[in-house]
Amino acid sequence: MISRIETLGRTGLLKLAALGRSFIFLLHALIAIPNPRTSFPLLIKQLYFVGVLSLIIIVVSGLFIGMVLSLQGYTILVDFGSEQAVGQMVALSLVRELSPVVAGLLFAGRAGSALTAEIGLMKATEQLSSMEMIGVDPLRRVVAPRFWAGFIALPLLTMIFSVVGVWGALLVGVDWLGIYEGSFWANMQSAVSFEEDVLNGIIKAVVFGYLVTWISVFQGYDCVPTSEGISQATTKTVVYSSLTILGMDFLLTALMFGDL
């Protein structure tokens, strides 16, 4: 019994120490005056890897989620004769909840795990050490551009997810099930408010982007530099990111829409 409590305490302390390390890590990586001549190309390169390469999975998922929402919404709403409301239902659920959360989860699986594995491998093959010995801080050269790229990419991907999702809903609702297109759009327009819904969704995406990339780069940088350590770090990235996104989403939703 005592030994179990001891184990619990030790695990707790280790986790706490890791959390502290990750704050210091983030501070070192981000507090720097970037040199535009070198930093900008690095950022562009990472934006390509983190953002552009995640586009396909985001677009395809957004399309299918929009289509399925439309179909489900239609089968329920048609009983009440209010199938024109499909447009507003799909748009609101996407913009407020599904786009930031699903795009965030997909982003963690696609880009976050890749970031962790890449940085972990650079650590295991002593590339980070040799960079340090050349006199370049890997936190600024390797970690910072990846962090900013993730931070910028996820909100953009989330917006793309919403747009493609609405398009998918239109395909199923209007073109296939025959909802009148005019009321599909009109209902959506009158129900979705820019500040309340769209902006809050983007704020969520910004928060998730920040958290997921932070987790990803830190897990890579802090991993045990062996193949086993890298695989564990990659798993941790996906698990921690997913849990963080879902937990934070509830918190943010309560803050943003709780008083309605």
């Binding site: 070192h28 070198t38 491998l121 650079m122 093959t125 002593e126 590339q127 050490s129 040799s130 960079m131 340090e132 010995m133 050349i134 006199g135 370049v136 801080d137």
Partner: protein, 270 residues
């Protein structure tokens, strides 16, 4: 060696342990300026760790490591990066940047620390690669190189900025006899003509003895012997003799510390 201002790196009373295993116990090492100093010792004694301690990548538990008066374990992060731009280190594993070509790898230190125009960078990179015999490999990726080639590219990268202090971790491992001869000559030339201070960690006794001005033999957390090549070859203490002649039996243990061999073998059945 006795002249104090000829010492560039001065390690005094330094102790270091890793996961509760003592690696260095209160050791003193002085690296003379502009000379080739060899660090030798059995595998796993901490030679690589010593280079990392000098480079400030790991911090000593106690004692001081002074480079021209600056105490490495007590420097701030940015001061550490400043002083590192004057050091070059060849890693045991090469540690080339896997996302850059051979050319970009060698050009990396030049690009971050100088504002040289592109054609000058190009000339310098070609010169360094020529000196390690790999000018033809300039467009290859690190994954397309053999182990020995990667290490030579890493050497070219380490000397790209002509740093004051060069640390070579096992530069001769995995090289054929011809490349070995070229590298020995290269290290010698860099040292004699440009006045670099070189620290060479190596197991290749013949090659090391032929270039080293001064040798430290470390084993078992201590410096067991030090001196010039002649002094060490003439040393009659059994430890030094064993190492210099490569004999398996003697006071220097070949085995990593372990429990009794017999116990381990029969342990399963007891």
């Amino acid at each position: 060696m006795d002249q104090l201002d000829d010492i560039i790196i001065d390690i005094e009373g330094m102790s270091f342990s890793r996961s509760e295993r003592l690696i260095f116990d209160n050791i003193n090492i002085r690296i003379p300026k502009g000379k080739v100093t060899a660090i030798m010792g059995p595998s796993g004694t901490g030679k690589t760790t010593l280079l990392k301690l000098i480079g400030g990548q790991v911090r000593a538990d106690s004692g001081s490591i002074k480079i021209e008066g600056l105490d490495i374990p007590r420097l701030s992060r940015s001061a550490l990066f400043d002083i590192r731009s004057r050091m070059g280190m060849l890693f045991q594993s090469g540690a080339l940047f896997s996302d850059l070509t051979v050319f970009e790898n060698v050009a990396f230190p030049l690009r971050v620390h100088t504002d040289l125009p592109e054609d000058m960078v190009r000339d310098l990179v070609y010169m360094k690669l020529q000196s390690v015999g790999l000018r033809g490999a300039v467009e290859l990726m690190p994954s397309e190189l053999s182990g020995g080639m990667a290490r030579r590219v890493a050497l070219a990268r380490a000397i790209a900025l002509d740093p004051d202090i060069l640390m070579y971790d096992e530069p001769f491992t995995g090289q054929d006899p011809i490349a070995m001869g070229v590298l020995v000559k290269l290290i010698k030339t860099l040292n004699r003509t440009l006045g670099h201070t070189s620290i060479v960690v190596s197991h290749d006794i013949q090659e090391t003895l032929s270039i080293a001005d001064y040798i430290y033999l470390i084993a078992d957390t201590h410096v067991v012997a030090q001196g010039t090549t002649q002094e060490l070859l003439a040393d009659t203490s059994p430890k030094v003799k064993q190492f210099m002649q490569g004999l398996p039996d003697g006071p220097v243990p070949f085995h990593f510390p372990a429990q009794d061999y017999f116990q381990d073998l029969v342990g399963g059945e007891l």
